[in-house]
Symmetry: C2
Subunit: 212 residues, 2 copies
DNA sequence: ACTTTATTGTGATTTAATTCACAACAAGTT
DNA sequence: AACTTGTTGTGAATTAAATCACAATAAAGT
């Protein structure tokens, strides 16, 4: 069981690159094409595949269609993944209006909020009272949720999600959530992303100055 | 010069944990407190600090105020970082209305778009025609930008940003941007984040089944 | 049929990151 | 003043990840 996050992220990138190549009319691909496409070495590509038992044809490379199928299987893209959002604020609004998830087999089914002003029972993606979350999650067998409530209420909201049966949270609130250990948290911390970017811009800037 | 991204991200997390501790009234902290707070080992904390020449007091731990100052210096938080957004769509709207960046010393100064319907010259954060970006970036000495345009226009928009003098891009478009090598790209790919989450939820679920 | 060429698949090696382990030492205690 | 305790700081050891290197081999050419 591979638990190297970077490795799994590379699989997603291979998949995306393969979609592009396929749509361009390509049928086969070599490890070095994929390597170029996502910016890693060709051995990294082959090693990643080897880890998951994906094989190609010596001399002949890999067949794109079959590769996509295998990667899809590993990444759970063989069926549509139903997802909910908790906290129907600005960020949720952007996510709910984004068309890009569907083509990845990710379907945002509903959002939940505490603020009655946000409720929209009959919208395309309904916004429902948080009290209805548990029933919804159970009856739709939802396993993954996005957490987009303010920091102050985030841990409590997460606990409600876990209690409802959610096993994975994509967390936008800038704190470290405590979670049961059969549950996964992926954090998207935009403050930290920007701060990190600033650091690298600064050190690259300084490196430039040194050369003078 | 430390270029280990995870290490720099940990510095940000230490800093955030330290803010909390300080606001709770603490004055000193030990490496194991910080370790607990962000979920790493105490040696990791000390090693990280050691790498940047940060020292504490044997037996006495670290003084929070001085630690914050040093971390701030390393992460470039000793002054406000001016940032622009290119693409004033849904995501940009969420970012522009988010109050959380300011307390981190990150100020979104303006957004730029090609769609005249989006222009808002006199808004608190103005939305301006993309043609005005270069002047703005030069005269405000902006080094960092957020890219939030659709995938199809992303590389072109990025090139315009580089030409204007931007040295770091936080990229939300789901593609790999080509960039000059004195420039840094940090990608936030939400499709991949969700896909990754689904993978880990699936394998943890399967692990559970095995035990039966 | 035989040779050349191109590419995979993976064990061995290297490099990078993390953890270990403990000497150094400051602060308190007897 | 000697002893105890608790914590840092870091070199050494370990672990994890990436890269190298090349045998295996399929396809194409002669
Ligand atoms: N908007 C951004 O650009 C941005 C950037 C970085 C981080 N974040 C983080 O993302 C999260 C969401 O940000 P946002 O801008 O969308 O916030 P927002 O204030 O626009 O929306 C938050 C929503 O959550 C709802 N809510 C509050 N408590 C709740 C609860 N217990 N259960 C259900 N709903 C609840 C509120 O009614 C509101 O509708 C925050 O944690 C924020 O720190 C946002
Ligand atoms: N909204 C989301 O939740 C979400 C999720 C994942 C990824 N993304 C990615 O983030 C990016 C932005 O998403 P969004 O939902 O805000 O899109 P959006 O369509 O709401 O907004 C895009 C904006 O960019 C402007 N634009 C287009 N070309 C431009 C150019 N060359 N220069 C300047 N402006 C230009 C458009 O006029 C529009 O206002 C996209 O690449 C999208 O794939 C968004």
């Amino acid at each position: 069981m591979i638990t190297n996050r970077n490795c799994i992220i590379r699989l997603s990138r291979y998949k995306n690159a393969l979609y592009r190549l396929r749509d361009l009319g390509f049928v086969k691909v070599f490890s070095d094409n994929l390597a170029d496409a996502i910016g890693v070495t060709a051995s990294q590509v082959r090693k990643d595949f080897s880890l998951f038992g994906i094989t190609g044809n010596r001399k002949g490379g890999y067949e794109i269609a079959s590769l996509l199928e295998k990667l899809g299987g590993i990444l759970g893209k063989d069926r549509v993944e139903r997802v909910i959002i908790v906290g129907a604020g600005h960020l949720a609004y952007a996510l709910m209006h984004y068309r890009g998830f569907e083509k990845e087999g990710i379907k945002i089914e509903a959002a939940f909020d505490i603020d009655p002003l946000k409720f929209a029972k009959n919208a395309q993606i309904p916004v429902l009272p948080i009290e209805e979350m548990k029933d919804f999650v159970v009856s739709n067998n939802v396993k993954v949720g996005v957490l987009a409530v303010p920091e102050i209420g985030a841990q409590r909201a997460a606990d409600t999600m876990f209690a409802a049966g959610i096993k994975g949270i994509l967390n936008f609130a800038p704190l470290r959530l405590k979670a049961p250990n059969d549950c996964t948290i992926n954090n998207v911390n935009l403050e930290i992303e920007l701060e990190n970017l600033v650091y690298f811009v600064n050190i690259l800037g300084k490196k430039g100055e040194d050369k003078i």
